[in-house]
């Protein structure tokens, strides 16, 4: 259990933190076993490589609009590692890293951003919703799903991701309010990367922090260093464990930074100084921070790094190629999935489509 001194207090917000940039850890280091630490590192590197590849694919016209995640690997990978297999993930559109930890293959995620509807088909057995594009609307689904777990007396927890922009929307307030009233086992993780597209967080809310909003709903609220993967893991684990014990929901505000644009459709040079981005990359890169920790613990070296990068580059390239070659649904696949049983008017529309399009090919 996290010491209450890290619970957000209205007078003074403390930020939960374990790792410094040089890799030294404070007394809260969970001392995870080496194999777990190396898995975490591997997924962070993979998330970054996935992201960089996606940007290249988009620039080359091989992928549609894509929302980059670089800079947010720590909060995503750390928190996702805190989930048990039976727990649920309710992601926003920027959680490719968290989703791959949960078991959604890279290939599927590339397919999604390549405009292939099969990309949203989460594999059976992976407890993760498809990404939610309308900002913050998925927070209500997390509350509802967690509520159902209470009614059905299941001991799962629900981890819901969203950004700082989402906290301006009614859905966020409604979901936290319902979650508090019904004491549901949900953890709301706000990746506060400082910008909703171009709008800085100071124009998003006049509150000093997002974490303090938890007070209004009578739930726990924490502020987290979201560039610190160990802190992200420990805090998410604590909140999820408490949820499963029936202690209700938690709001976590993870302070982080996205290195790239909001999506490939916007130009961050219009709203951020390049120097700021470069400085934060240099001073706070979550991957470098964690690598320093691993090196300090003699679990990592340049040779291992080189081998890992080469291996992951191959995996990422293969996933992208497979995604490009993956079959897209037929028009009929779409029609058949509107309802459990296709009503007559959709049969008519399908027949019409087949008539005018030469046999039902997309």
């Amino acid at each position: 259990m996290i010491d209450d001194k890290y619970l957000y207090r209205l007078e003074k917000g403390e930020t939960f933190h374990i790792l410094d940039q040089d890799g030294s850890a404070n007394e809260l280091d969970p001392k995870l076993p080496p194999d777990v630490l190396l898995k975490i590192y591997r997924m962070m590197v993979q998330a970054r490589a996935f992201d960089e590849k996606a940007l290249k694919l988009q620039r080359a016209g091989r992928m549609g609009t894509y929302p980059p995640l670089s800079g947010q690997e720590a909060v995503q990978i750390g928190s996702a590692f805190a989930l048990d297999k039976s727990d649920w993930m309710v992601p926003s559109y920027r959680e490719a890293g968290a989703m791959m930890v949960k078991g959604v293959p890279m290939k599927l995620q590339y397919m999604l951003w390549m405009g292939n509807d099969w990309g949203n088909r989460i594999p059976d057995g992976v407890n993760c919703l498809p990404v939610s594009i309308p900002v913050g609307s998925q927070t209500l689904h997390a509350t509802g799903m967690a509520w159902a777990a209470n009614v059905r007396k299941e001991k799962n927890a629900f981890l819901c991701y969203f950004g700082d922009g989402a906290t301006s929307r009614g859905d966020f307030h409604e979901s936290l309010n319902f979650a508090g009233v019904f004491q549901v086992p949900a953890v709301f993780l706000c990746s506060n990367n400082g910008f909703a597209i171009s709008t800085p967080v100071v124009l998003q809310t006049h509150a000093e922090t997002i974490a303090q909003k938890a007070i209004a709903y009578g739930i726990r609220g924490y502020r987290l260093d979201g560039m610190d993967v160990l802190a992200s893991y420990v805090l998410a684990k604590d909140a999820l464990d408490r949820a499963k014990k029936g202690e209700g929901p938690t709001l976590i505000e993870a302070l982080c930074y996205r290195f790239g644009p909001h999506t490939t459709a916007d130009n961050p040079d219009l709203y951020r100084e390049k120097e700021e981005v470069e400085r934060i990359k240099k001073e706070k890169d979550p991957i470098a921070r964690f690598r320093n920790y691993l090196v300090k613990r003699k679990l990592w070296d340049d040779q291992k790094e080189k081998a890992l990068i080469e291996e992951i580059d191959r995996l990422v390239d293969a996933a992208a190629k497979e995604a490009e070659k993956a079959p897209v649904p037929t028009f009929e696949d779409l029609v058949r999935n509107v309802f459990a049983e296709t009503p007559p008017y959709l049969e008519d529309e399908l027949n019409y489509f087949k008539k005018v399009s030469g046999g039902g090919k997309p």
Binding site: W88, D117, W118, N120, R121, I122, D124, L129, P130, S132, I133, P134, S137, L140, H141, A142, T143, G144, M145, A146, W147, A148, A149, N150, V151, R152, G170, D171, E174, S175, N177, F178, V181, F182, P329, D333, L334, R336, N337, V338, F339, A340, E341, P343, P344, Y345
Partner: protein, 324 residues
């Protein structure tokens, strides 16, 4: 058992909650008070606070969390106190409830019912008389039911709860206590997507749903005195529509009056007119006429009778198509 519409809704919920422990009732004031129309009376006493839930006052919260409940194995029946307040939840209906199955390519589905009192004619406040069916019928992935009689209300509501997809279940406020009829007890369902011939006739077809069915039946009575035998079709389900029932009747009578309480422009009646024009054009002996509400906000109650279609307006339209 003799029941009115409110009792039929209550009976359907009572029965289905007893049969299926995953059915949940949720909404503002649905628990202790039994809902503002008392449609959920006694449910909480019988099934407890975990399954019959007084929620915070938040339509979007109700519909959005119902989506989550449905995604995780429950069958939520969400009550919106008046349909005029559902617009705050429109995003959850259009962006999530209705599209989860298709966008997840069949992995997830949202078996939920949103029950809403709709329609005018009871001298209610502003925002309490809305009749905006088209706003739901336009959303792919939603089914829209608008029953008229207590028997239909019970049979269709049970079917709606058992349906694996999200359903908007519209209950006309004016009909809640308007009349009673014998309703089958216990297990009883009616298929969603099937219309009912409320009155047989050969001279013209009147298409209606909700309270407009009774208005049309009244008009048909007047017309009978003048020797005109109208057929009144109660659509019961707007989506999926029983196109066959509509076209069969229209092809036989060759004359059509569509009666709806909604605003005229882009109302569901416009769609009915287009379907008939596409599929039964050559059977028509006269233009299709719509009797509808006007394209103004629903008036305060001193003028609501001017707004609402009544038997007289329907009869005038019927004579117009007969005399064309």
């Amino acid at each position: 058992m003799m029941m009115n519409n409110v009792q039929a809704v209550n009976d359907a919920l009572m029965y289905e909650m007893g049969r299926d422990p995953t059915v949940m009732m949720m909404g503002e004031d649905v628990g202790r008070e039994g809902g503002v129309f008392r449609a959920t009376t006694g449910l909480q006493q019988k099934y407890g606070k975990a399954r019959v839930v007084d929620t915070p006052l938040s339509e979007n919260g109700i519909v959005g969390t119902a989506v989550g409940l449905a995604l995780n194995g429950m069958k939520p029946v969400a009550e919106i106190q008046f349909s005029g307040f559902v617009f705050a939840a429109y995003d959850q209906l259009i962006s999530h409830a209705s599209r989860m199955r298709q966008r997840s390519m069949g992995r997830y589905h949202v078996p939920m019912v949103v029950r809403m009192p709709f329609g005018g004619g009871v001298r209610a406040l502003e925002h309490h008389s809305e009749s905006d069916e088209t706003i739901y019928t336009q959303i792919p992935g939603l089914k829209v039911v608008a029953a008229c009689t207590p028997t239909d209300m019970k049979g269709l509501l049970i079917s709606a709860i058992r349906d694996p997809d999200p359903i908007i279940f519209l209950e006309h406020i004016r009909l809640y206590r308007a009349f009673r009829e014998e309703v089958p007890e216990g297990e009883f369902t009616l298929p969603i997507g099937k219309a009912r011939v409320a009155l047989q006739g050969n001279d013209l077809t009147i298409l209606a749903w909700g309270a407009m069915v009774n208005v049309s039946l009244e008009a048909a009575k007047q017309l009978q005195k003048e020797g005109i035998n109208a057929e009144v079709i109660d659509l019961r389900t707007l989506k999926p529509l029983d196109k066959e029932a509509v076209l069969n009747s229209v092809k036989r009578t060759g004359r059509v009056v569509i009666v709806e309480e909604a605003h005229r422009i882009s109302g569901f009646g416009s769609d009915l007119g287009a379907i008939i024009a596409e599929d039964a054009m050559l059977y028509l002996k006269a233009p299709i006429i719509r009797v509808s509400g006007y394209d103004i906000r629903f008036p305060l109650y001193k003028l609501e009778d001017e707004y609402l279609p009544d038997p007289h307006r329907v009869a005038v339209a019927a004579k117009e198509v007969m005399n064309f």
